[in-house]
């Protein structure tokens, strides 16, 4: 399924990505041309899949999950949401939510301030009881108890229209501590009428149905099963599988078996979850070497991992072993949702022309070669990842010379009236690979007339970056969107109002301040439709390009290996470019 096209992606990733993915779309049964690629066969139900996980989850409670891979894979197996993202390799399709537990993708009224969803008939918990509107209401109330339900996304806290304190935090303390009056205030904001749940917000949220398709902050939760922090590792499933014993063991994992109370008729298996294997053995090993060992076994295709997939990406030194021969058939190279960029400190490099000269003279191709080449990264032309809805190359950077345009940079510096060499201090998170990559950039900047010193930093890197009076001129940073909306990229990184205080620039590492930009963000936040919002945000991104608020570097790529008996292996925007568990089957 789409596997051959994936290899097209690997070969021409730098430019043809969007097209290749778009051409891929969904489940293709049109033969594999006899290449012997077993993954092109349609998957069949049955069998056992091994899921090799090389790190520890933080929770099994839907309202406390924040790892992208866990959100994506558990959406396909145990936790259905009101809406969900479909399993398509086309990011346009997989970034558009479809109905899951709800009958449709929700009804937005009042300019995005009110959302209503109606639950389907016949949707059940694994214990056989119906999923009710009250379960959704209860689930939505839990993140407010942020002393108990910790670790999950907390966007709803600032949106749901319950009375707020002077500092903007909610007065509602969550279901455990609320007085009857507070509970009533919450149930007014998130109200039930039969099977219809209505969310009332204090400000517009036009892509709410997309936010909850990936994140589980308003997933249903059965009140009688809630033991607060004690149910951190309990899983009460409503999906096609359930965990044996109803628990996930953080350090060992668990076994997923069929949930007999799940009715595929209430679901859309083709789009949302094929649920092919009869059993999924979730095996956790978080030792330092586990990820590399899993992949070594997968490369060899040793018998006990032939039916296995893993959360661990191939290590750089393993990449070239899988570029030829049989292992290449089981290898996947995709663009990840993570984009790296440089911020220029607006306080120390005040002239936008100088900032632009820095961006133009950067040898991006050399930088990527030093990171490990085209298998590891591809050049980025915006801070917005290609997998995000509303991605558009930033006009300021779309046509730059990726080898570093030294002459253009020199001309700009001259235009800016710079005398002598401009001293620049460049900070990044130290590692042998990044030391090399930045020495390449240093060389190209020095050629253009800068005098660059590199400052590789340790574990407190982001704290240093947040400091408003740092002496750093350029800094490396990386970002991945929480849900595929530009609203989760530009505002958190460049809106100066929530970020900049006397003691910190927070996520606005370059301390970028622009009233024009902030105005566009406000207009986007208050937009009446997703399209209008995207248009405003693209305008804001173009402004950032002109002001050189950031310099796009690269989109990281993910490298995956899977066993020879695994069918339907692919990754989607919905699965954060991790293996899309909903499509995967096992050959017997």
């Amino acid at each position: 399924m789409g596997k051959k096209l994936k290899r097209v992606v690997a070969a021409s990733a730098a430019t043809a990505l969007g097209l290749a993915l778009a051409a891929c779309g969904g489940d293709s049964n049109d033969g594999d041309g006899g290449s012997g690629n077993n993954n092109a066969e349609p998957g069949q139900a049955g069998g056992e899949l091994n899921y090799l996980q090389h790190f520890l989850f933080e929770a099994a409670d839907p309202q406390r999950i924040y790892y992208g891979v866990q959100l994506a894979n558990w959406r396909r197996t145990v936790y259905r949401g009101l809406t969900a993202f479909p399993m398509s390799e086309d990011p346009k399709v997989s970034n558009t939510p479809v109905a899951d537990l709800a009958t449709d993708t929700g009804t937005m009224t009042d300019g995005g301030k009110t959302w209503a969803f109606t639950l389907k008939d016949g949707v059940k918990w694994e214990d056989g009881s119906d999923i009710t509107c009250e379960d959704v209401q209860y689930g939505a109330s839990r993140p407010f108890a942020n002393d108990v339900i910790t670790g999950g996304p907390n966007y709803t806290l600032s949106y749901i229209d319950v009375p707020q304190k002077a500092d903007g935090t909610s007065t509602y303390p969550g279901p455990y501590k609320a007085t009857p009056e507070q509970q009533k205030q919450f149930e007014d904001a998130v109200s039930c009428d039969g099977k219809t749940i209505t969310f009332r917000f204090n400000k517009p949220w036009v892509d709410f149905n997309a936010a909850i398709a990936g994140l589980m902050m308003v997933d249903p939760y059965k009140k009688s099963a809630d033991k607060g922090d004690k149910s951190k590792w309990n899983v009460l499933s409503n999906g096609p599988y359930k965990f044996v014993g109803g628990k996930f063991d953080q350090a060992k994992g668990g076994t997923l078996v069929r949930n007999e109370n799940y009715d595929p008729a209430t679901d859309d298996p083709e789009q949302l979850r094929l649920a092919l294997p009869d059993q999924i053995n979730w095996k956790v090993n978080d030792s330092d070497t586990a990820g590399e060992t899993f992949n070594d076994q997968l490369i060899e295709d040793s018998p006990d991992v032939q039916n296995a997939i893993t959360t661990a990406r191939l290590a750089p030194q393993q990449l070239l072993k899988v570029q030829s021969g049989e292992p290449k058939e089981r290898y996947t190279n995709v663009v990840s949702p993570y984009t790296d960029y440089l911020v220029v400190n607006a306080k120390t490099v005040t002239d936008p022309k100088v900032r632009r000269a820095i961006g133009l003279s950067a040898d991006i191709n050399g930088f990527i070669k030093a990171l490990g080449g085209e298998l590891v990264s591809e050049p980025a032309d915006s801070i917005i990842n290609p997998g995000v809805t509303g991605y558009k190359p930033n006009p300021a950077w779309a046509d730059r010379n990726l080898d570093g345009d030294i002459e253009a940079a020199k001309a700009l510096l001259q235009e800016a009236g710079v005398n002598g060499k401009v001293k620049l201090k460049v900070a990044y998170q130290k590692s042998p690979t990044y030391d090399k990559a930045f020495s390449v950039l240093q060389e190209s900047w020095n050629k253009a007339g800068f005098d660059v010193t590199l400052d590789g930093q340790g574990a407190t890197y982001y704290d240093v970056l947040a400091s408003p009076d740092k002496d750093i001129d350029i800094a490396w940073a990386g970002w991945g969107a929480d849900w595929p909306s530009v609203m989760t990229v530009l505002p958190p990184l460049f809106d100066s109002r929530p970020n900049i205080s006397a003691t910190s620039c927070n996520n606005d590492y370059g301390c970028y301040e622009s009233d024009a930009f902030n105005k566009l963000i406000d207009e986007a936040a208050n937009a009446a439709s997703v399209e209008e919002q995207i248009a405003k945000l693209q305008e804001a991104d173009a402004l950032l390009g002109e002001d050189v608020g950031y310099i796009p570097l690269d989109n990281q790529k993910f490298n995956w290996m899977h066993g020879s008996k695994v069918t339907g292996f692919t990754t989607t925007a919905a699965s954060s470019s991790y293996p899309e568990l909903g499509l995967i089957g096992v050959k017997q």
Binding site: Q317, L320, N365, A370, G372, G373, P432, D435, S439
Partner: protein, 335 residues
């Protein structure tokens, strides 16, 4: 080298056969001449001496080649010579006329330049550490051996304590604190200078014990010799006896220890670099080139073997030279 003993026997036998030769011609050889004679016959030691001289000359000329003549540039990247995965285009790790030892994967810096210049830093660190260890060891060894009594006992216990110290572990555990201390008390600029000073101090501070023990043993017998007693009778000060009377008789074990300690510190620098302590890239040392190359060992093997072979060659040649010197200077030494 056990071959030395039969040779001596042959020499003696030859002398016995040649009855006509005057006995005085043998007796007239000074110990130095005897040692040189033995050394000249030891081909292996002469070859290793040539290697050692070569490495030292290379280390001395590298800064000139980089900064004066600009023949080599250990920092210049040549990414045009790499493929899209960051591997050198040419076979054998990018070996060509312009890059005789190939290229560093991912950035394409010239391996010959890096190894050549790295040799300077590695040998400089090893030499500095050896000198510190030697001075400490010789002084404490002489004092311990000549003074005897409670001084000897205390120094002996200090040696035991130093040997019992888990030095590699402590070196790593204390590296953060150690670097800060070096920077504060010695006022070195942060970064590589501090790191190098720290490594030199630590290697020196833990490396002096073996030479101290050897020297002490020698001094124990020397201090009973007539010339020492004579000096004492004439009222010579302790310092004079230690450093004017005893020290000149110790040059043989000192020289041998020196040649054996250098290679140990060259490989110690490489090991420490692997563990993340020491001069950091892009400034090359043999240790950090080797550390870096390990990551590419199965992709670009040439890049891995070049620093590995150079380190091995240094260690082996210095060791063989040291062994040869010991045999030549003290043929009765029991190994």
């Amino acid at each position: 080298m056990s071959t030395t003993e039969p040779k001596l026997g042959a020499e003696a036998a030859g002398a016995a056969v040649d009855i006509a030769a005057p006995v005085t011609s043998v007796a007239s050889k000074s110990p130095m001449q005897l040692a040189m004679g033995r050394l000249r016959k030891d081909k292996l030691t002469l070859i290793s001496l040539a290697f050692v001289v070569f490495f030292i000359l290379a280390a001395l000329t590298a800064p000139l080649a980089v900064h004066v003549f600009n023949i080599i540039d250990p920092l210049k990247t040549n990414q045009d010579a790499l493929d899209s995965f960051g591997r050198p285009n040419a076979a054998w790790g990018g070996i060509s006329w312009s890059h005789p030892l190939g290229l560093e994967p991912s950035v394409g810096r010239d391996t010959l330049s890096r190894v050549w210049y790295g040799l300077t830093f590695s040998l400089l660190i090893a030499l500095s550490a050896t000198i510190i260890a030697m001075v400490l060891g010789v002084v404490l060894g002489i004092v311990s051996g000549a003074a005897g009594g409670w001084v000897d006992a205390i120094i002996g216990r200090i040696i035991d304590l130093t040997l019992a110290f888990p030095q590699t572990l402590m070196l790593l555990a204390l590296s953060t604190t150690g670097l800060i201390m070096v920077r504060t008390y010695l006022h070195t600029p942060a970064g590589n200078v501090t790191a190098a000073v720290y490594v030199v101090i630590v290697l020196g501070a833990f490396g002096w014990t073996s030479i101290a023990r050897i020297v002490r043993g020698q001094v124990l017998s020397l201090r009973e010799r007539e010339f020492v007693h004579a000096a004492q009778m004439m009222g010579a000060s302790r310092t004079r006896i230690y450093f004017r009377e005893i020290l000149p008789n110790l040059w043989a074990p000192i020289l041998v220890s020196f040649t054996l300690m250098m290679p140990a510190f060259v490989s110690a620098e490489a090991a420490l670099s692997f563990l993340g302590v020491g001069i950091a890239a892009p400034t090359p040392t043999l240790g950090n080139i080797l550390t870096d190359s390990v990551r590419y060992a199965d992709i670009v093997a040439t890049y891995f073997f070049v620093p590995a072979i150079v380190i091995a060659a240094i260690v082996v040649s210095f060791n063989l030279l040291g062994d040869g010197l010991r045999d030549a200077l003290d043929p009765k030494s029991d190994r």
